[in-house]
């Protein structure tokens, strides 16, 4: 993560040590995870000992000290969702993304987690993709949502490619 960006976040919070958790949350949401450089920088800038930062970042589940994908998928496997077929949803997620619960793919595209209750059991089985709730999902729908994301990602990547120098190569193809 870019040090400048980290500094920006810290400055936005007036380098206030009492806002440590807020700052960490901001870095987490900008970058999807907390790299070590970021923690070291925060520790230096706020004069908060590293042991305290480690204590906090390992305490709260929101923080991730390992790289996370750009899209976060949470599948509820709580009791209500379980009896309504959460396992099938999970299997579909794994089949489409190739990512197992608790893991992230090497391209940092998807991270998959299971959760134990999302507080909306009546909607079960529930899947949350990038903060958006999908209730009563059936397998086909799960696949559809994820495929869309994948397509969007692919399109985005192509778009980026287009803008870069290799764009010509892509444009060469007449069918586009």
């Amino acid at each position: 993560m870019d040090i400048g960006k980290i500094d920006q976040i810290i400055e936005k919070h007036d380098s206030e040590a009492s806002l440590l958790i807020q700052i960490l949350l901001d870095i987490q949401s900008t970058n999807n995870w907390l790299p070590k450089e970021a923690l070291t920088r925060v520790s230096e800038k706020l004069a908060v000992p590293m042991s305290r930062i480690q204590h906090i970042t390992t305490f709260y589940k929101t923080f991730s000290l390992t790289p996370k994908g750009r899209h976060e998928i949470h599948v509820c496997v709580g009791t209500a969702c379980h009896v309504r077929g959460a396992q099938d949803i999970l299997a579909t997620v794994e089949a489409v993304t190739g990512v197992k619960p608790g893991e992230t793919d090497p391209d940092l595209q998807f991270s998959v987690e299971t959760v134990s209750c999302l507080g909306c059991c009546a909607l079960g089985p529930v899947m949350v993709v990038d903060g958006e709730y999908h209730g009563n999902v059936v397998q086909a729908e799960t696949a559809e949502v994820l495929e869309k994301l994948k397509l969007a990602e692919t399109a985005e990547t192509l778009e980026k490619l287009k803008q870069s120098e290799t764009a010509e190569v892509v444009n060469l193809c007449a069918c586009q």
Binding site: P49, M50, S51, Q54, H55, T58, F59
Partner: protein, 207 residues
Amino acid sequence: MSEISLQVDGKQVTVEEGMTILQAARSVGVAIPTLCDHEKLAPYGACRLCTVEADAHGRTNLIAACQHPVEKDLVIRTRTEQLDRIRKVLLEQMLAHAPDSEQIVALAQIYGADPNRFEKDANFCILCGLCVRYCAEIKQKHAVGFFDRGAKREINFIPEIAVRECWDCKECFPLCPTSALQAAYVLTEALMSPPEPVAKGCGGCGG
């Protein structure tokens, strides 16, 4: 500062406001078992062995003597059947982690704690926090800290700080009631390279 008088095991005690019940009890020679208490460190209340019964406002509460400040007219009992039972269970849980800790074994004998009551857990730390607090409060180095939470909570050294500070300090070692700290340090040591020896005296003649 005003003085406060209370009763500890039937003895009338008058101490300064702001003192803890543990300090008040000690001042009249009443011993309360403790593990996480340290005279130089702020009260922490991790081990709960110092739990005592306190009567106040017509109710009896269980409180941690090392943390609770004295209050006017409190009636404290430091040894009752209920307290013995509480301490026994606490010690049994600690023995599951550190069955050979001298301090814990000695207390276990007093309270009749059974070392085999709970399944053994390979984590020797009882999370008393003495090492973490000593490093933070007294040395202000913060080389060791708590990680994770709940059943997974554990102490760990921060290797980057440990490599700078710990080689020549190790003052926390004797504080640990279970030797878990030394073990954690040895693991950390494997990650760090020893500091360059500082040349003493004249390098040329060796004097």
